[in-house]
């Protein structure tokens, strides 16, 4: 499983990196950068939450 960021959709709301600094960080332009793609059970739950909360619908989980 892997988190993907669609930069076209993203409007840099910051929800992902403020809620889940363990998975994302803000890059120099304000976009999220995925910093952890080895998702154990806990992190997978966090990633699912980030996908659900993203107001731009710019995140998805890919197998």
């Amino acid at each position: 499983m892997k988190v993907l960021v669609d930069k076209e959709k993203c409007f840099m709301s910051g929800e992902c990196y403020y809620n889940h600094p363990e998975l994302f960080r803000m890059d120099d332009d304000g976009y999220p950068e995925v910093i952890e793609n080895r998702l154990d059970q806990d992190l997978l739950r966090h990633a699912e939450e980030a996908v659900q909360v993203c107001p731009a619908g710019a995140l998805k989980l890919e197998k």
């Binding site: 990196y17 809620n19 107001p55």
Partner: protein
Amino acid sequence: MSEETVELGPEIDPRIFDSKEFQKDPFPIYKQLRDHHPIYHDRFHNRWILSRYWDVDGAFQDNGSYDRAMYKADGPYDFGSRHVFGPNILEYGNSDEHRRLRNIVAGQFVGQKLQDFIPMIHQISEEVIDRFIDSGEVEIISQFASQVPIRVISNMLGLPREDEDTFVTWYQDLIAGLGFGGEHLMRGLNARNEMWDYIDPLIKKRSVDPGEDLLSRICTAEIAGSRMSSDEVKGFVALLLAAGGDTTEKAIANMWYHLMYTRPDQMELALSNPDIWENVFAEMMRFDPVVHAQFRYTTREIPLYNDVIPERAGVILYLGAGNRDERAFKNPDTFDILRDDLHMGRENRSGRYKDGKNGHLGFGIGQHFCMGYAMARQESAIACSKLAARVKKPRPKNMVHPGISSPSIDSGGFRSPEELIMEFDK
């Protein structure tokens, strides 16, 4: 963080922050702070002050160094909001508990869920305007700005419309109790208790038989399998009145104030263009927002401008000062709804924008960025554009106005005029 050199300037007497003069017109002091004391140690109030745009922005972004709550050994320090609101999101600092509560409710105020409520905001704005439109005069705060947001919240929660006036009374008592304390505090707490008694059975009912309203959504929203407790829902409803009602009321008042008295030459533009009210909102949130200051506690030593803020120190982030920083905005002391260096429209928690412009700091930035930002902007813009469309030749009743003030600007006091009377042709 900006690290340019600082030219020495006159000392600032920290007692100025308690003065009427500062509450009325803080901007000259803000400029002195930015230019000569970008890191200011206020020994009188035992706190530090940041005032430059990029320093305030940087502190908002830096969760590792600045926390919203002061932690004691056994948990976050209770800074009063629990006393009035019950358990609520404002108390949990940067903790996981804060994230849980925020994520349950944050989604209700953006995107499609917000759009579901928009037609109702249009309708309520029109109804409120109907009440005074034939009189040729409106006191904008009591008859308009304070009426729309609270009726909108009552409707969002799905309360019966016949209870709306009661809800407005609870709101007014609660806000008075918060703002002035003393005898008003008892009135505020009584209002809160009555409201909670009223809402308690509704929470029980909608938890098991939810509808499409906000109360049902809050009662049943789940993040990672966790719902809000009944007390948390009640705390949130009370908080919603202050954080969602009172602030929006004052935002609407400040928008009209600045068009009527600060830039009357831009009034015509706003009256003839319903789409421009999001610009009026954004520029008001930059030029003179409802909230000018946010408080943080340091979690470690912070070196800045050849000085060091110690660990566990109180820091005021003057976003009202950052918004007037020449380092971020051209002619910052000019109110201009056509400003080309300010990001207009949808704000971001990140404070970064694809158009490369700088955003106002009026909602804060980062982890504690205002949750109701999209709602506040859209509701204010809709209500104001409705009023603009219906008044003919509006003008201030009094050519001279005592101006905007704030009861306690540096403790998060909301800034707004006390009275604002507009005349128009019948």
